[in-house]
Symmetry: C2
DNA sequence: GTCTATAAAATGATAGAC
DNA sequence: GTCTATCATTTTATAGAC
């Protein structure tokens, strides 16, 4: 959030005064872009399609965004902000950290199964950011947002420096597993194999967390 | 390899007699597409750029491929075939299966670190296949090729049905971890964190393999 | 089998009226 | 702030000479 290299192509509303209606329209365009992306994928994502999907004329789109690139990066930013408010609510939270890890993986897996195009879109956008020079920081922010989120769910109280570190390590590992299974489950389309993989992932993550906690206790 | 639904848009050389020179040119175009993709990403991958990168005129490209889509799918097929011959050679093979798993993960991690654009390209193409109706089978084949490959390296002798099953389960899990770490390591750019993640992945995979073997022995 | 030339459509972006 | 109209390229793809 601090010290980031902001992209050269910033949106016009960031410069002007940002009217009420202006903000609404801008959000509608971003929303339209997300829907067009989910439906048709990156290859078919043109400014015209986005404008149509947002119920706005092409020129209006360009009034709010200097370029297609700046719009796509704004979409990714929106996705990040969205995650931070959406996910934070509806995850059941058992008491023990290990159980929370398990619950979190199961919840993610259910979500992945019913949001195929959304997940693919998100990966496409991440790759787009990694490909777009000067925008790699956005991909980093996306991952850090997820790591923060997962990390806080493992250890709600993060005043303990050690626990915070451990929570983030487990979060990174969970995220690796989830990203990996997104690609593989959509590609293989073998539900029973993916279910086995989820169980294996849960076992591994519980073990990893346990191990990190034991190591910490030893080091005292 | 058998019983797959072939894409409607097949290449012209598959229909005609396939001259020596013709096959060479076709391969050069595919190679050119791979290089153009690695350098500029999907967004910038136009038929003109591919033709230029292959040292061929645009019309020649269209002589060999009905459409851009059929070319891209051919590129993914080529990537799969390439993996099967390239990887199979230069992986050091310790004796114990657990050690082989570890060696394989370490080798993959080294490779990932020095082939960023290649890995991103491959993921972009996989997503493209998942997005392209009627071509999901290609993504499945890609993953099955990797699973076969990793699986055979875990248990070289696969006449034992149980061992083959276990090898494939471990392979799927390794692939999940590797795919996940590809995205995360490029996004976060935090080498020490990624190194920790690799060690955790190794520990988890050794544990998973051990557990599957114990379960098998119990079931006798 | 490879080329030159060109068609036909699509795309990102802008000018200027309202 | 949103629109109509249009520009300037670019893109995929084809026709036809060699």
């Amino acid at each position: 959030m601090m010290g980031e290299t902001k992209p050269k192509t910033r949106t016009k509303t960031a410069l002007t005064g940002a009217t009420r209606k202006g903000v609404e329209t801008r959000n509608r365009i971003i929303k339209g872009a997300r829907e067009a992306l989910e439906q048709g994928g990156m290859e078919a994502l043109t400014t015209r399609r986005i404008a149509a999907s947002a119920g706005v004329k092409l020129a209006t789109l360009h009034y709010y965004f200097d370029s297609k690139e700046s719009l796509l990066l704004a979409v990714l930013e929106d996705l990040i902000a969205d995650m931070e408010v959406t996910y934070r609510q509806d995850v059941a939270l058992p008491e023990a950290p290990e159980d929370r890890v398990e619950a979190l993986i199961r919840a993610s897996w259910r979500y992945i199964q019913r949001t195929r195009n959304k997940q693919i879109s998100q990966t496409e956008l991440t790759l787009y950011a990694l490909r777009t020079k000067g925008s790699e920081w956005l991909a980093a922010r996306q991952y850090n947002a997820y790591i923060d989120f997962y990390g806080h769910l493992v250890f709600v109280d993060d005043r303990d420096e050690d626990l915070r570190r451990i929570g983030r390590a487990v979060a990174r590992q969970m995220l690796i597993g989830i990203d990996g299974i997104i690609l593989q489950s959509y590609a293989l389309q073998d539900l029973s194999a993916s279910n086995d993989d989820i169980e294996a992932l849960i076992t591994a993550m519980r073990g990893y967390l346990r191990r990190l906690l034991v190591e910490r206790d030893k080091a005292r």
